[in-house]
C-alpha cells in the first residue's frame, strides 16, 4: 500500500515540472503604458534573443543595411501606386475605417481587420505588442489601447524588438505598418499640426542554420503627419501607411523574408516643422498603430 501511495505521489513532481509558466511571461496589473505623462508611455523592450547586450542574443549573421528605394516598391500612403502594385485586392478594401461600417450597401471589407496578423495566427493575440497586430490602424479615440509609442533613437538605442513564436512561411507579398507622429513639450503642452522628417529603421530577423540573420533596412520620410487629427475623412493625410514589396520568387531583387521570426523598429528624428513655445523642450514619438505581413502564413 505504501509503495502504491509513493507511486501516485511521485506524479506530483512530474506535474510541477510541467509547469513552465509559458503564459506568465508578460503579466501586468492592468493595461501598461497608459499614463497621462507622455514620456512614461514610451515602449522600448527588446527580446533577449534580438538584443546584442544580452547573453541570449542569437544573431549570427548581420547583413549590410538596405536603404529602401522605389525599386522595392516602397509606399507611404494607401493611395500610392506602389501600394496598389503590392495589394492585388486594392479595390476590394476600405482604408479609412477599421471599426465598423455603417453603410449597409458597402460591399468592400475593412483593410485593417482583414490583413491583421492576429487574424492569421492566434499567437499574435498575446502580449503588449498584440496592439500592433489587432487590425486597428487608427486611434479611434482608443489612445493607449491602439498605439505603441516609440521614442527616437537619436542619442541612444530605443525602439523595440519582437521575437515571434512562429516563423513566417513564404507567402507575404508585402510588409505594411501604419503610424503617425506626435510631439509635445516636456510639460505636456499640446502643439499644433505639422510634419516630421524621420528615418525609419526596421530590422528583420530570419532563421538560419544555427541562429538568426539580421537584415536591417532604412527609409526616410520627409513629411510624416505630426499631431494630426483622427477624422476618417482625412485619414489618408493624417497617417502614414508605409511598406514595401517582398520577394515572391528568388532573383527579383526584392527582399526575401521567408523564415522570419522577429522584427525590430527604431527611428531617427531629423527635423520637425511644429513650432514650440520658447524655452520648452520637445518630446517626439512615433505612434505605431499596426504592423502586418498581409496574406502571409505562419508555421
Amino acid at each position: 500500500m505504501n509503495k502504491f501511495l509513493f507511486k501516485i505521489l511521485s506524479f506530483v513532481p512530474f506535474l510541477v515540472l510541467t509547469s513552465c509558466g509559458y503564459g506568465l511571461k508578460e503579466v501586468y496589473d492592468g493595461l501598461p503604458y497608459n499614463s497621462t505623462v507622455f514620456e512614461e508611455n514610451y515602449y522600448s523592450v527588446w527580446d533577449k534573443t534580438l538584443n546584442p547586450d544580452e547573453k541570449k542574443y542569437q544573431v549570427t549573421e548581420t547583413k549590410a543595411e538596405r536603404e529602401l528605394t522605389d525599386s522595392d516598391f516602397v509606399f507611404t500612403s494607401v493611395e500610392d501606386l506602389n501600394f496598389k502594385e503590392c495589394e492585388q485586392s486594392w479595390n476590394d478594401y476600405i482604408y479609412e475605417e477599421d471599426v465598423e461600417i455603417y453603410d449597409e450597401d458597402e460591399t468592400r471589407t475593412m483593410y485593417g481587420p482583414d490583413v491583421k496578423l492576429s487574424g492569421i495566427d492566434n499567437s499574435f493575440k498575446y502580449g503588449i505588442t498584440s496592439k500592433l497586430f489587432d487590425g486597428q490602424l487608427f486611434c479611434n479615440g482608443d489612445y493607449q489601447h491602439a498605439r505603441m509609442q516609440i521614442e527616437p533613437s537619436n542619442t541612444k538605442r530605443e525602439g523595440f524588438g519582437i521575437r515571434f513564436s512562429k516563423e513566417m512561411a513564404s507567402g507575404a507579398p508585402y510588409f505594411m505598418l501604419n503610424f503617425k507622429c506626435s510631439i509635445v513639450t516636456e510639460n505636456n503642452y499640446s502643439l499644433s499640426f505639422g510634419y516630421s522628417d524621420v528615418t525609419l529603421k526596421i530590422g528583420f530577423y530570419v532563421k538560419n542554420g544555427n541562429g538568426l540573420t539580421y537584415i536591417p533596412t532604412s527609409y526616410r520620410i520627409n513629411e510624416a503627419p505630426t499631431n494630426s487629427g483622427d477624422m476618417p475623412s482625412n485619414r489618408n493625410n493624417s497617417y502614414v501607411c508605409f511598406g514595401f514589396k517582398l520577394s515572391e520568387k528568388t532573383g527579383d531583387g526584392l527582399l526575401n523574408l521567408d523564415r522570419l521570426v522577429g522584427i525590430s523598429f527604431e527611428y531617427e528624428l531629423n527635423s520637425c516643422t511644429v513650432s514650440l513655445p520658447a524655452g520648452e523642450e520637445p518630446l517626439h514619438a512615433i505612434m505605431l498603430y499596426e504592423m502586418s505581413f498581409p496574406h502571409s502564413s505562419w508555421n
Binding site: 501516485i8 510541467t18 509547469s19 513552465c20 503564459g23 506568465l24 498575446y126 489601447h145
Partner: protein, 479 residues
C-alpha cells in the same frame, strides 16, 4: 424445413445486447471526454444507441414499467421542449442555432432512454460503466491540468489573482487567476476557472471508491480509482482560490457524508434528516432570493427594506458579486412575466434583447430560469426531486454492490451539486459563446445515469415479483 427457417431468423440477444452496451459505453466515454464539445454530436449518438438498445431489449420490459418510466421522464421532456423554444439557443453563438434546437429534447430524451434501456441488457455491469465514465473524465482532466500547468504554475490562482495579460491590445477580461486552459472542441482555449474546476470536482468523487474496494484482492481497480481521485484532487489543489476553497469544503463534507451513510447504517437517519433540512432551507432561501430580487414588486418592498437594513443579509442577498447576476436574472424573468420560457413570442424573429443574456450566475438552477423560463425551471426542479427519490430507492435497494451505488450516486449528486455553485454558462474568456447547462457533458452523463438507476431499481423490483412465477425467457428473440 420450418425449424431451419426459424433458427435462421433468430439471433442471440445476449451477444447483440453486449455489443450495443459496448457502444453505449463508447458513447459515455465520448461525452465524458467532452470530445468536440458538440451537443448535436452527442444527441445523434444517443438517438442511434437508444434505438439499437430498444431493438435488443424491447421484449424485456413490461408495459407498466415503461409507463412508470415515461411519467418519471415527463418533467425532463417538458423542460427540454421549453428550452428548445426559448430564445436562448438562438443566441447561444457557436453552441446551438435555431434549426438545431430540436436536438435539445432529442438529446436529453434519447440519452435518458439509452440509460434506461441499457439497464435491461443482461450482464451489463455498472462497475465497468462507472470505470468508463470516470476514466474518460480523468483523461480529460489530465489533459486540461497539464496544459494549464504548461501555461501557468501551481497555485497561480492565488499568486496571480490580480494580474492580467494583454490580449489583442487590451487587458484580459478577467485576472489570470480566474482562467485556465481547457481542451474545448479540438483546440485549447482559456476558460473560466469555475467551469474548468467542475470536471476535477466531479472526478474527485471517485475517492469514495477507495473505501469500498479491498486493496489486496483488487489492486488494479483500486489503483485506477486512486489515480483518478488523485488527478481530481491535485487539480483542485493546484487551482485553489479564496472562493473555491469553500466549494471544496462542501465537496469534502458531501463525500464524507456519502461514505459514512454507506459504512455506518445508523447514520442514515441523521443524514436523511440533514438532507431534508437542507432541502427545506434551500426552498426558503430560494423564495427569499426571488422576492428580494424583484425591483418592480410593491409587495416585496417591506421585506427588501428589512434585508437592506441588515448588514449581513444585505451582503448575502444584495451586494456580493455572485448574488448580483442571480438577482438580475430572477428580476428579469419575473418582472417580464416570462413564465413560458424566454422569447416564446419571438420564436420566429429572435429578439435577443428580450432575454437576460450574459449574466454569469454560476448556478445551473438559476440559469434554468434564463434558458427555459419559469416553467422550465419548475419542471427541471421536479425532475431533480424525482431523481432524488429514485436515488433514495437505489440507495436502499440491493440491486447493485455498495461500490457501484456509491460511485453512481456520488457522480450524480457531485455533478448537480458542483454545477449549482460553479456552472459558468459563458465559459470562454475571449469569446461570448453561451453554453447552456443542459449541454454540459457531465450533466448529460448524470441524466443518463439517473435513468440507468431507475432501470436498475425497476428491474430488481420486477425480478423479485416474478421470480417465483416464471423465469425470464428472453434470452433469444425471434424477429
Amino acid at each position: 424445413m420450418e425449424q431451419k427457417d426459424i433458427s435462421k431468423k433468430k439471433f442471440n440477444l445476449k451477444s447483440y445486447g453486449m455489443i450495443v452496451a459496448f457502444l453505449c459505453l463508447e458513447m459515455l466515454a465520448f461525452i465524458g471526454f467532452a470530445l468536440g464539445n458538440n451537443f448535436i454530436l452527442y444527441g445523434s449518438l444517443a438517438i442511434v444507441i437508444a434505438i439499437l438498445l430498444f431493438l435488443v431489449t424491447f421484449r424485456q420490459f413490461k408495459k407498466d414499467g415503461f409507463v412508470s418510466y415515461a411519467i418519471f421522464l415527463f418533467p425532463l421532456v417538458v423542460f427540454s421542449i421549453l428550452s428548445a423554444i426559448s430564445t436562448y439557443p438562438i443566441v447561444s453563438v457557436g453552441a446551438i442555432g435555431l434549426p438545431n434546437a430540436i436536438f435539445i429534447p432529442l438529446t436529453l430524451v434519447f440519452l435518458s432512454l439509452a440509460g434506461f434501456l441499457v439497464s435491461k441488457v443482461h450482464n451489463f455491469e455498472t462497475s465497468k460503466m462507472m470505470l468508463v465514465v470516470y476514466g474518460s473524465l480523468a483523461v480529460f482532466v489530465l489533459i486540461n491540468l497539464i496544459t494549464t500547468m504548461i501555461y501557468y504554475v501551481p497555485f497561480y490562482t492565488l499568486i496571480y489573482k490580480n494580474s492580467f495579460i494583454v490580449y489583442e491590445g487590451k487587458p484580459s477580461p478577467v485576472p489570470i487567476g480566474s482562467m485556465a486552459y481547457m481542451l474545448y472542441g479540438f483546440q485549447f482555449v482559456e476558460v473560466s476557472i469555475y467551469y474548468w474546476r467542475l470536471f476535477p470536482a466531479i472526478l474527485s468523487t471517485s475517492v469514495v471508491a477507495l473505501f469500498f474496494i479491498d486493496f489486496k484482492n483488487n489492486k488494479k481497480v483500486f489503483a485506477a480509482y486512486a489515480t483518478m481521485a488523485f488527478l481530481g484532487i491535485i487539480s483542485l489543489i493546484f487551482t485553489v482560490g479564496k472562493v473555491t476553497i469553500l466549494t471544496d469544503l462542501f465537496m469534502i463534507v458531501f463525500l464524507a457524508a456519502l461514505v459514512i451513510s454507506f459504512k455506518v447504517p445508523k447514520s442514515r437517519k441523521i443524514i436523511k434528516y440533514g438532507v431534508f433540512a437542507i432541502g427545506i432551507a434551500f426552498i426558503l432561501a430560494l423564495i427569499l432570493v426571488i422576492i428580494n430580487a424583484q425591483s418592480n414588486a410593491s409587495f416585496a418592498a417591506g421585506l427588501q427594506n428589512v434585508i437592506a437594513s441588515n448588514e449581513l443579509l444585505n451582503r448575502l442577498l444584495n451586494t456580493n458579486r455572485f448574488i448580483s447576476p442571480i438577482n438580475e436574472v430572477l428580476d428579469g424573468i419575473f418582472s417580464g412575466y416570462k413564465i413560458l420560457g424566454l422569447g416564446i413570442g419571438s420564436f420566429i424573429v429572435p429578439d435577443s434583447t428580450s432575454m437576460v443574456v450574459g449574466s454569469e450566475t454560476i448556478c445551473w438552477f438559476v440559469d434554468s430560469f434564463n434558458t427555459s423560463g419559469i416553467f422550465g425551471a419548475l419542471f427541471i426542479a421536479v425532475f431533480v426531486v424525482f431523481a432524488g427519490k429514485k436515488i433514495m430507492e437505489y440507495f436502499n435497494s440491493d440491486c447493485d454492490s455498495q461500490l457501484n451505488k456509491v460511485l453512481l450516486i456520488g457522480f450524480i449528486i457531485a455533478t448537480l451539486g458542483s454545477m449549482f455553485v460553479g456552472y459558468d454558462s459563458s465559459p470562454l474568456i475571449y469569446y461570448n459563446n453561451l453554453n447552456p447547462f443542459y449541454m454540459f457533458p457531465p450533466f448529460l452523463i448524470a441524466i443518463f445515469l439517473i435513468s440507468y438507476m431507475f432501470g436498475r431499481v425497476e428491474l430488481k423490483t420486477k425480478v423479485q415479483e416474478t421470480e417465483n412465477k416464471e423465469e425470464l425467457k428472453d434470452e433469444q428473440i425471434s424477429i
